[in-house]
C-alpha cells in the first residue's frame, strides 16, 4: 500500500469504510444475518458479545492501518473454522472497549509499521468506530430503546466522543495544500458519522413525539366522549331505571336523550352544561327540530318531523314569514298534544322557494270548529292571526273522532 500518497490512502479508506457503512444501515436482523464475506466479523461479535457493526468497523479501521485488518480477517477466516453465529447480547460498554482496543492497536502499529499514517487512520478510525458504536441494529425500534435508556445514552455518547476525537486529531494537524484534500474528506466522513450517530436518535425522538401527540389527542377524544356519555346517556338511564313504573316520563326521557344523542352524533353540535345540544346550523330546519324537541319534552308526545326543501338564505321578510309559520305550527302542535288525545303527531314542512307549507296532523278526537268559544283565543290569534300578519293562510280540517290537520301556508317573496 503506497503510504506516501495520502490521496491513495484516503481512497482505500473510503473503499474499506463504505461496505460497513452500507451494512450499518440495514437494521433488519434477518437481512444482516447474511455474511458479507466469510462471516468472520459475525463470529467475533458473537463470541465476545460485541455489536456486529463495531467489529466490522474495527476490521475496516485496521484494514486502513497498512492492511493489518485484511490479514487478520483472512487469517481468522482460514484458521477459525467453527465460528459461532450467536452469543451474549452486545453491550455498549464492551463495544466501547473493543473500539478503544482497536484504536490502541492502530496507535501501536503506527510506531513500527510503515503502512500506517496515523494522521489519517486515527481520525477515520475514530469516526468509523463512533458511527458503529452509535448505530446498532434495533435502533429503529423506539420501544427497544425505551426499555434500555441508559444503554442508548452510553452508546450515543460514546459514538459522539469518538467522532469528536477524530475531528480534534485531524484539526490539530498542520494544514497545508497537500493535506487539505484529506482534511476535507475526513471532515466529510466525520460529519456523515455524526449525522449517522445522531440521525436515528433524532428520528426516533420526532417519531415518539408524534406518537405521543396522537395518543394524547385520542385520549382527549375518548375523555370527551366518556364525559358526554356520562353526563347525558348514563344519567338518563339512571333516571329511567328509577322511574320504571312511570311509562310517560320514561318515554319522554328516552326521547329527549335520543334526540340529544343524535344531534351530538350527526350534526357535530356542542353540548352545553345542561346537556342541551346547540345545533351547528341555524336554518329553519334547525328551528323546526328545536321546536319539535321542546314540545316532545314538555307534553310527552312523539312527533315525526319531515322537512323538505332548503330555502337557504331567504330575504329578511321571507325569514319572518317562515318564523311566523313555525310559531303557528308550534301552537298547532301544542293544541294537538294537549287536546287530541293522540300521542303520535306528524309535522311536515316544505320550503319550495316561493312558499312555505306546514302540515300538523294528529289522529285524535278532533273537534268541531264552530263549537269553539270566542274566549278560546289560541287558534284565532296564535295561528290564524299570526299567518294573516305575513299574508298567509291557515286551514283547519277536522272532524270528531277523525283527527285534525292544520295546514299553514305563507308566501315568500322569491326567497
Amino acid at each position: 500500500m503506497p503510504a506516501e500518497h495520502p490521496g491513495a490512502i484516503m481512497a482505500t479508506v473510503m473503499a474499506a469504510t463504505v461496505p460497513p457503512v452500507t451494512e450499518l444501515r440495514r437494521t433488519d436482523p434477518a437481512a444482516s444475518a447474511d455474511p458479507i464475506i466469510f462471516g468472520v466479523a459475525r463470529g467475533v461479535a458473537a463470541k465476545y458479545g460485541l455489536s456486529l457493526p463495531v467489529v466490522r468497523a474495527a476490521f475496516a479501521t485496521l484494514a486502513v492501518a497498512g492492511g493489518i485488518g485484511l490479514l487478520l480477517y483472512l487469517a481468522l477466516a482460514v484458521l477459525w473454522r467453527d465460528r459461532p453465529t450467536s452469543g451474549p447480547a452486545p453491550s455498549a460498554a464492551r463495544d466501547l472497549g473493543a473500539g478503544l482496543v482497536t484504536l490502541g492497536l492502530v496507535w501501536e502499529l503506527g510506531h513500527w509499521w510503515p503502512g500506517v499514517r496515523a494522521a489519517l487512520v486515527i481520525p477515520v478510525g475514530l469516526v468509523t468506530m463512533g458511527v458503529a458504536v452509535g448505530w446498532r441494529p434495533g435502533d429503529s425500534d423506539p420501544a427497544d430503546d425505551a426499555t434500555r435508556p441508559r444503554s442508548t445514552l452510553v452508546r450515543v455518547a460514546g459514538g459522539l466522543v469518538l467522532c469528536i476525537g477524530g475531528l480534534a486529531v485531524l484539526l490539530g494537524q498542520r494544514v497545508d495544500i497537500a493535506t487539505f484534500r484529506d482534511t476535507a474528506l475526513a471532515l466529510g466522513v466525520a460529519g456523515a458519522g455524526a449525522a449517522l450517530v445522531l440521525g436515528p436518535s433524532a428520528v426516533r425522538l420526532v417519531r415518539s413525539f408524534s406518537v405521543e401527540r396522537d395518543e394524547r389527542i385520542r385520549a382527549q377524544e375518548r375523555a370527551a366522549v366518556a364525559t358526554h356519555l356520562h353526563d347525558s346517556v348514563l344519567q338518563t338511564l339512571t333516571l329511567i331505571q328509577k322511574r320504571a313504573d312511570d311509562p310517560v316520563t320514561t318515554a319522554a326521557l328516552a326521547r329527549h336523550q335520543e334526540r340529544s344523542l343524535r344531534r351530538w352524533l350527526y350534526s357535530g353540535g356542542v353540548v352545553d352544561a345542561s346537556g342541551q345540544v346547540e345545533p351547528g346550523d341555524r336554518g329553519w330546519r334547525a328551528s323546526a327540530e328545536r321546536m319539535v324537541g321542546e314540545i316532545e319534552d314538555h307534553y310527552a308526545v312523539a312527533i315525526e318531523l319531515v322537512a323538505v326543501g332548503d330555502g337557504a338564505d331567504g330575504s329578511q321578510s321571507a325569514s319572518v314569514a317562515v318564523a311566523a309559520a313555525l310559531a303557528a305550527a308550534r301552537e298547532a302542535l301544542v293544541n294537538a298534544a294537549k287536546f287530541s288525545g293522540d300521542t303520535r303527531l306528524s309535522i311536515y314542512c316544505e320550503h319550495s322557494g316561493d312558499r312555505f307549507d306546514v302540515f300538523v296532523r294528529d289522529r285524535g278526537v278532533g273537534f268541531d270548529p264552530a263549537a269553539i268559544g270566542a274566549d278560546r283565543r289560541g287558534i284565532r290569534d296564535s295561528i290564524i292571526g299570526r299567518l294573516e300578519g305575513v299574508g298567509g293562510t291557515a286551514t283547519i280540517r277536522t272532524e270528531p273522532a277523525a283527527g285534525t290537520e292544520v295546514h299553514l301556508c305563507v308566501p315568500l317573496d322569491g326567497g
Binding site: R262, V306, V308, G309, Y348, E350, S352, F359, R361
Partner: protein
C-alpha cells in the same frame, strides 16, 4: 305467497331482534334471524323467505352487502329497518333494491302491515323516506337522459306529500278519490324511479344531507 309472510330478521342487536320477533307475533312467521352480513346471507339462502327485515348498519359490511349477495333470489323482498335517519344510508339501501324503509320507532301494527305490503310486492314509504324522495327529486332539474325516470309526475308528488304528512295508503286513496291499488302503483312507480334514476343529484344530495 302463503297467507302469513315468512320473514328473516337481520339486525346486530339481539335485544332489538327479540323485540321485533315478539312484536310481529302471529301476523308473520319469523323463520330465521341473523346478526351480521355472512350469517344473513346464509340464512336467507337456506330459508328463501318472503321478506327480510334488514338493518342498515351491520358488522361485516352494511345492509347493502346483503342486498347485493342476494340478487340471485328475486322472490326475496327486503324492507329496510333502521335507527339511522341519515338520508345517505336510506337512499343507498333503497337504491340497492329494498322495497321500502321504516324507522325502528314504528309501531308493531304498522310494522306488520309494512311487512305484508312488501310481501305483496308493494313499496313502503315512511313519511321520512317520502320526504327524502321529494327533496331529492325537487332539486334542480337534471340534464335528463330519460325524462320519464328523472321526474316525478304531479300525481306521484301528491301521493308522496301525503305520505310525508303521515297519511296511510287508505287515507291517501280517500283524499285523492282514487283506489288504494292506484296509490300502491304510484308508490311502486316512485320506488322504481328512485332505484333506476341515474340522477347524480340523488347520490350527491343524499351524502350532503346527513340527517334531516
Amino acid at each position: 305467497m302463503s297467507a302469513v309472510p315468512r320473514v328473516v330478521v337481520v339486525d346486530d342487536h339481539a335485544l332489538f331482534r327479540a323485540g321485533v320477533v315478539a312484536e310481529l307475533g302471529d301476523r308473520v312467521q319469523v323463520v330465521g334471524v341473523a346478526e351480521d352480513v355472512a350469517s344473513a346471507i346464509e340464512v336467507i339462502e337456506a330459508e328463501v323467505p318472503d321478506v327480510v327485515l334488514l338493518d342498515v348498519h351491520l358488522p361485516g359490511g352494511d345492509g347493502v352487502a346483503v342486498l347485493e349477495a342476494c340478487r340471485h333470489l328475486p322472490t326475496v323482498r327486503f324492507l329496510a329497518l333502521s335507527v339511522s335517519d341519515a338520508a345517505e344510508d336510506v337512499i343507498a339501501l333503497v337504491r340497492g333494491g329494498a322495497r321500502g324503509y321504516v324507522t325502528k320507532s314504528i309501531s308493531a301494527d304498522e310494522l306488520a302491515e309494512a311487512v305484508e305490503r312488501v310481501a305483496g310486492g308493494d313499496a313502503v314509504f315512511s313519511p321520512r323516506l317520502a320526504g327524502f324522495v321529494l327533496d331529492a327529486f325537487s332539486a334542480s332539474a337534471p340534464a335528463a337522459s330519460d325524462p320519464e325516470l328523472e321526474h316525478l309526475t304531479a300525481r306521484e308528488q301528491e301521493v308522496l306529500r301525503l305520505l310525508a304528512r303521515g297519511y296511510a295508503y287508505k287515507e291517501i286513496a280517500r283524499e285523492l278519490t282514487i283506489s288504494i291499488k292506484t296509490v300502491e302503483s304510484h308508490a311502486s312507480a316512485v320506488l322504481r324511479k328512485l332505484q333506476l334514476s341515474n340522477r347524480a343529484e340523488l347520490s350527491r344530495w343524499a351524502s350532503e344531507r346527513r340527517i334531516i
